[in-house]
Symmetry: C2
Subunit: 196 residues, 2 copies
């Protein structure tokens, strides 16, 4: 098999496992089921991913990478609310990854879950980066009066919570204008809507 | 068996299944595993819950009931941010239910998941109730400038997102003061912190 074809096969396994983790979670998905989905034996899958945890790690790396898109939420530009709205739009374009992220994150809160440390470290890192970024830009308080830490916690919770609402009910939720208005109020950077 | 003992046994199955759903999700948990956990046969469990979906429905009803506590988020009192903070404190006191809710909600976004309609209807109802409540109290705009609908979406997303952060990392997140300050800014009802 050429290197290219091996890479294709690895990618194929990754995508099949991602779809299954998104649907049944990590613990609800067996390596055998992943193997069946791509027409390989269990041994065939183990050739590319030596165990299920290694497969999980590859998927987590991919969901974080895709979730960040070209616009990492911690890198500040001029218009923070507009930038975060762009992150949301980017996630919308990759619903399978967004869903896998959401399901694995929810599942990982159990004490002995293999993704727990990954998500805990990821959230700590993102919160620290956002807090530092807001502090550099605004000092001890944002224009809204919030501390940089409180704003970072709130922004991350909003992104996760609104993504879940959208995954659940795409017809009725996920209006980008709602996200923009809420972020504008949280930051205190501009009026959330037209004057009354 | 007396009615009391039958009620106890039903409650025992419900609690065991709740813990397993919280850990492995609905699809990752079999009725056989639930039966083993409570020392019954599969037939024994089916005596109390005729199928797995009926068991899920009972658990969902319970998590919503517990999550609402004595302080339904849609019933407005004088100090809305303080009241929502009380809802959060209540959920903290019931982490198993909070976790089951979070995992089942995340899992349910898949098209054919049996809890999908439950969660979709639940979120629509809660959003509508909150939007109506905010409109009755504040009219077309909250003091922050947000529309009642945007505020409702944001509050619900914040509650879900901050609960997930807390479930993941209980030592570093979940400060009630953070929640209170963020809600105060979203509503625009008071200053989020001491003057600078």
């Amino acid at each position: 098999m050429t290197a290219d074809r091996a890479g294709d096969r690895r990618e194929e396994i990754l995508r099949a496992a991602l779809a299954m983790f998104a649907e049944r979670g990590y613990r609800g998905t067996s390596l055998d089921a992943v193997a069946r989905a791509v027409g390989l034996t269990r041994q065939g899958v183990l050739h590319y991913f030596p165990d299920k945890q290694r497969l999980l790690a590859a998927i987590l790396a991919r969901t974080v990478e895709v979730g960040r898109g070209d616009l990492p939420p911690h890198r500040l530009q001029e218009d923070v609310p507009a930038q975060l709205a762009a992150v949301v739009a980017h996630n919308r374009a990759h619903p399978a990854y967004a869903q896998a992220y959401s399901v694995l994150m929810a599942e990982s809160v159990v004490a002995d879950h293999p993704a727990r440390e990954h998500f805990r470290a990821h959230y700590r890192q993102v919160l620290d980066e956002m807090t530092r970024g807001y502090t550099e830009r605004w000092g001890a308080r944002l224009p809204s009066g919030l501390t940089p830490h409180a704003a970072a916690v709130a922004v991350l919770a909003l992104l996760d919570g609104m993504q879940q609402q959208w995954l659940l009910d795409r017809d009725r939720t996920g209006d980008p204008e709602t996200m923009r208005a809420v972020l504008a109020v949280l930051f205190g950077t501009e009026s959330p809507g037209p004057p009354q």
